[in-house]
């Protein structure tokens, strides 16, 4: 029932709310990732955005009209409205002036609280409430380095660098940490942002019913390589996913803590290298976290990207490119 109401609201208001922006964007296809969610988390985000925009837009729009009307009506010399040089107080207006924002904030607070629980990264009820009792979720351990993403699939004992492949119709649960500095994990069409911090573990989750390729971004500045620290997220069917898993498990590379130590050296991923690792040291995620908490860092050289071209040559000369 609730879902239906929501769908109505979504479809009805979405068209109205988005019409101006979509018109402005011309016919270049829908590039508005936030308005075109493909996962249940992102869809929930959009629902609350529409609620908020409708409520606030009504108030702000009416206020703007009021101001414009006053500007027109009371323009000096036009004598459209009565001039009262002393009028400066009215209890009735005061009640409205305080009342309208209070009611609006009260109303929005309800949605704020509800929404926060629905997509709480640690326990998103929009996903967990619809999970089958034994629905087998996919777990992914995300480790951000300076400046690459390592996605460990502990269930399959394998890992992939800079590419995320996930099955549709399946809940996916992430554990996230970072080796060096703080950044943020973000796939605009699938799931909102969550910070990724060294020596700490955050969580997030997503679920999507749409096969496709979606852009993943490191959305908090993490240093020189942030702009290239992107990754493609491929949502594939269950069959394709198991095929892909088999393919990765045949790859030659493996990932132990020692090789992670080399992997985590500062590296600007200009060419978007995707690397498969068929074997991963069990508990690598916790191992990295423990090492960082023990004070392990991967320092940067001074003025590293003062000359980017030179830096890329150096990176290539080190056979890391």
């Amino acid at each position: 029932m609730e879902i239906k109401w929501r769908n109505w609201l979504k479809n009805g208001w979405r068209a109205v709310a988005l019409a101006p922006v979509l018109l402005l964007s011309g016919c270049a296809g829908n590039t508005y990732w936030i308005f075109d969610p493909k996962g249940i988390m992102a869809k929930t985000n959009l629902f609350y955005m529409i609620v908020d925009v409708v409520i606030m837009g009504a108030i702000v729009g009416l206020t703007a009209l009021l101001v414009v009307w006053f500007m027109w009506r009371y323009k000096k010399g036009k004598n459209r409205g009565k001039y009262d040089p002393h009028w400066s107080h009215s209890n009735t207006i005061e009640v409205f002036v305080w009342g309208i924002p209070i009611i609006a904030v009260g109303f929005l607070s309800y949605f704020a609280v509800k929404g926060t629980f629905e997509i709480n990264p640690y326990n998103p009820t929009v996903i967990t409430h619809h999970m089958k009792p034994n629905g087998d979720p996919v777990e992914v351990d995300v480790i951000a380095t300076d400046w690459q993403w390592l996605f460990v699939y502990p269930q399959y004992h394998m890992a992939v660098a800079n590419e995320l492949v996930l099955p549709v119709h399946t809940p996916v649960f992430f554990r996230l940490t970072s080796s060096a500095v703080t950044t943020t994990f973000f796939i605009p069409q699938l799931v909102g942002m969550i910070d990724v911090m060294p020596g700490m573990r955050t969580k997030n989750a997503l679920m999507s019913d749409h096969v496709g390729e979606y852009q993943g971004i490191a959305s908090d500045f993490a240093g020189a390589g942030t702009s290239w620290m992107t990754f493609k997220t491929k949502m594939v069917s269950a069959g394709d996913f198991s095929q892909w898993v088999q393919q990765v498990q045949k790859a030659p590379g493996s990932m132990t803590y020692a090789s992670f130590n080399r992997f985590a050296q500062p590296y600007i991923d200009v060419h978007h290298h995707v690397v498969y690792f068929s074997a991963v040291e069990p508990g690598l995620f916790d191992h990295v976290m423990a090492e960082v908490m023990r004070g392990k860092t991967w320092p940067l050289p001074p003025m590293m990207t003062e000359n980017m071209v030179e830096y890329m040559q150096k990176q290539a000369a080190e056979h890391r490119d």
Binding site: S88, L108, S109, M193, S219, T297
Partner: protein, 702 residues
């Protein structure tokens, strides 16, 4: 040396070395040459016209709150210009570096700025705009206006006021010198843990950032104490709290915030310094440090700081709207309550800057609701301004246009702010350019209010009005620029574009970036219009002279004294009877009544100590940045010694006799009478101005 530093260190020069001067940089080297030539020309001109004594006696050593305020505003405008150039550079880099096939020059793969330089540019842009443009501009206005509006001859502590100015100037100098000596921080204006640690930011950039901010914090705290004490202790007789002008209330609430929040920043920065200089582990990821502590401490200051800058801007709008609506501010008491409510709630919302950090839903909802509470008093303010116009007689001159522009921007910023306040929405747009567009909307409210105030109060300070045509031209150009830059930015936010991208990976964003580049070009034209505005107004200043009540419809005390304001503000302090004293006097035809006789008054002496202190704090900041320990010790000792010497000497001040005052006052009245005469033949364009010059006095008022 207390920590292992990459690169060299010598006892004499610390980390400073020739290699730290970016003489090979194709952008900075020509700029440096231009700055040197400009400085030589400027100094040469001052010497040629023999103005050094004038400059030293009248400006550099002054303790006059109006002159200090003017200097604050000059610093603010210069830094606003620098910040604008940074913004121009950011936009140009982003419009250039789109997609893998975009070209690159000057050693960068795409565009013309490498990540190392791009980071410095946007970090400097943010820090400068908030702390060295908006803050000094607002502090400058508070400095000029608050003492006159409360009917005082000066601030409570004139020397402290000068000290605050010169420390702020030292901070501005420190960030400017980072252009040419070493580098600036490249991780954003608020940095973050642990990227500012020595391992991830080995250069001096973060150190420049620490000491620049520390100096700003110190200067602003001193200024805040001064304004609070002035409002509490120096009000004219009869001015009860209920009669306080609304801008004074705004300044009061803002400075309560400044006084209580800046220590949090100072501590946060000191702890960063402890990490970087002493090898402490406050914000490191390992060794028991806690990097989230930094984020919390920074925003515990950072969010109140936002209201510290917006509340005076609201106060400015509350002064401009009534004057050009020709009626009192609607809902004075709720306006005051709203300001105080904003100041109070400002302490309870800091976590909304990092909803995505992964706090639990209970914490996030608490801060979400608290954040939305800010919308209530802010909404009240918007409605009150609207109802100030209701039943008014509106004049749309340039000052009013800026205020109305601020009102509309506030509506947009408020609307998007309410979106960001809800975590379920915030997760999607946090760290995206949507947030950037939101806080630029809010900060532009301040910029609009400031330009409105420049136009509104300029005649009070300098005795002549700014040119209406060019002021309006600048307003429309600036507003067009705002629309062209920030509408596409909001749209890009909905497209998922994140902030601080040195290289834009998605080519479908190109056309929006093109529009934004066009917008920044229009902004540049508005900057040009501002320079023309200043030139034309100064050229025609004789034509645009005004008397005490420049607009003819102003309501507060500052318009009761001469324009420009004499250095003693009021020959005899006014006795306040009503909330809008001048409007009340005008209504009853007693606004021209002069004091019956003049008594001796006591004024503070000028002092060169403040500027020397400012210079020493600059040296201290520079020495700390470069870890030149001997120079740190020398400059610190010099500061302490100078404080002690000054405290021994004290300042007896001097006396202006009543006869002398009477002579100066009569001269001022004669001058104003002439202005009134000349204006009858040359009515000044622009709204109320033409019929505002009510300077014909009848004999009964003598």
């Amino acid at each position: 040396m207390l920590v292992d530093l990459p690169g060299g260190w010598s006892p004499l020069l610390g980390r400073l070395a020739w290699s730290q001067i970016p003489y090979a940089n194709p952008i900075l080297a020509p700029l440096f040459v231009a700055v040197v030539i400009g400085a030589i020309i400027l100094l040469g001109l001052i010497t040629y016209y023999g103005k050094w004594t004038y400059l030293w006696k009248e400006w550099l050593t002054t303790v006059d709150h109006k002159k200090l305020g003017v200097m604050y505003i000059i610093i603010g405008l210069v830094m606003l210009f620098r910040g604008f150039i940074d913004g121009l550079m950011i936009r140009t880099q982003q419009v250039w570096a789109v997609g893998p096939h975009s070209t690159g020059v000057f050693g960068s793969l795409h565009g013309y700025l490498t990540p190392f330089h791009f980071g410095q540019v946007y970090s400097a842009h943010g820090l400068i705009m908030i702390l060295l443009a908006a803050t000094p501009l607002l502090v400058g206005f508070m400095n000029i206006i608050v003492p006159i509006q409360v009917g005082a001859r000066d601030m409570a502590y004139p020397y402290l006021n000068a000290l605050g100015l010169w420390i702020t100037a030292a901070a501005a100098a420190l960030i400017m010198i980072s252009l040419f000596v070493g580098d600036f921080a490249h991780n954003g204006w608020f940095e973050y843990a642990p990227i500012f640690e020595l391992q991830y930011s080995p250069g001096v950039g973060v150190d420049y950032w620490i000491w620049t901010l520390q100096l700003v914090a110190l200067g602003t705290t001193l200024g805040g104490i001064n304004i609070l004490a002035t409002v509490i202790k120096m009000r004219a007789p009869g001015m009860t709290w209920g009669k306080l002008p609304i801008f004074v209330w705004a300044s009061l609430s803002a400075n309560v915030i400044a006084l209580t929040s800046f220590p949090a920043l100072q501590v946060a920065l000191a702890l960063v310094a402890a990490d970087r200089y002493l090898g402490a582990h406050f914000f490191t990821a390992g060794m028991g440090g806690n990097l989230m502590l930094y984020t919390n401490l920074f925003w515990i200051w950072g969010h109140p700081e936002v209201y510290f800058v917006i509340l005076p801007a609201f106060g400015m709008m509350s002064e401009i709207f009534p004057t050009f609506s020709e009626k009192p501010l609607f809902g004075y008491i709720t306006m005051v309550l709203a300001s105080m409510a904003i100041a109070g709630v400002s302490w309870l919302v800091w976590l909304h800057h990092f909803f995505t950090m992964g706090a639990g839903p209970y914490v996030n909802t608490a801060f979400s609701v608290a954040t939305m509470l800010v919308g209530i008093p802010t909404g009240v303010k918007v409605f009150n301004w609207a109802f100030t116009m209701y039943r008014g007689r509106l004049t749309f001159n340039a000052a009013m246009l800026w205020a109305i522009g601020a009102l509309f921007l506030l509506l947009i910023g408020g609307m998007t702010g309410m979106m960001l306040a809800i975590p379920a929405i915030n997760y999607m747009v946090h760290n995206s350019v949507f947030v950037v567009a939101h806080f630029h909307s809010m900060l532009l409210v301040i910029v609009y209010a400031i330009f409105g105030s420049v136009l509104y109060w300029f005649p009070k300070v300098f005795g002549f009005k700014l040119d209406e045509f060019w002021a309006k031209t600048m307003f429309w150009l600036f507003s067009a620029g705002t629309a062209l830059v920030f509408v596409p930015m909001y749209m890009l936010g909905f497209m998922g574009m994140t902030r601080r991208l040195e290289y834009v990976f998605n080519t479908s964003w190109q056309s929006y970036l093109d529009v934004m580049e066009l917008g920044i070009v229009v902004y540049t034209l508005s900057v040009l219009a501002f320079f023309i505005l200043l030139y034309v107004s100064i050229r025609d200043h004789a034509k645009n002279r005004v008397g005490a009540d420049a607009w003819g419809t102003s309501r507060s005390l500052e318009w009761m004294t001469h324009s420009p304001v004499p250095f003693y503000n009021f020959a005899v302090l006014p006795h306040v009877n009503e909330r809008d004293e001048l409007a009340w006097r005008r209504q009853h035809g007693i606004d021209q009544v002069r004091p019956a006789h003049y008594d001796d008054i006591h004024m503070p002496n000028n002092t060169g100590v403040a500027i020397i202190m400012g210079g020493l704090t600059f040296v201290l900041g520079f020495a700390l940045t470069w870890r030149i320990w001997w120079l740190c010790i020398v400059s610190l000792l010099a500061i302490i010694l100078l404080m002690i010497i000054r405290s021994f000497k004290g300042d007896p001040g001097y006396i202006i006799t009543g006869a002398e005052l009477q002579r100066m006052e009569e001269e001022a009245y004669r001058r104003e009478a002439q202005i009134a005469d000349s204006h009858h033949s040359h009515p000044v364009s622009g709204g109320v101005v033409g019929n505002a010059m009510a300077y014909q006095r009848n004999d009964s008022s003598k």
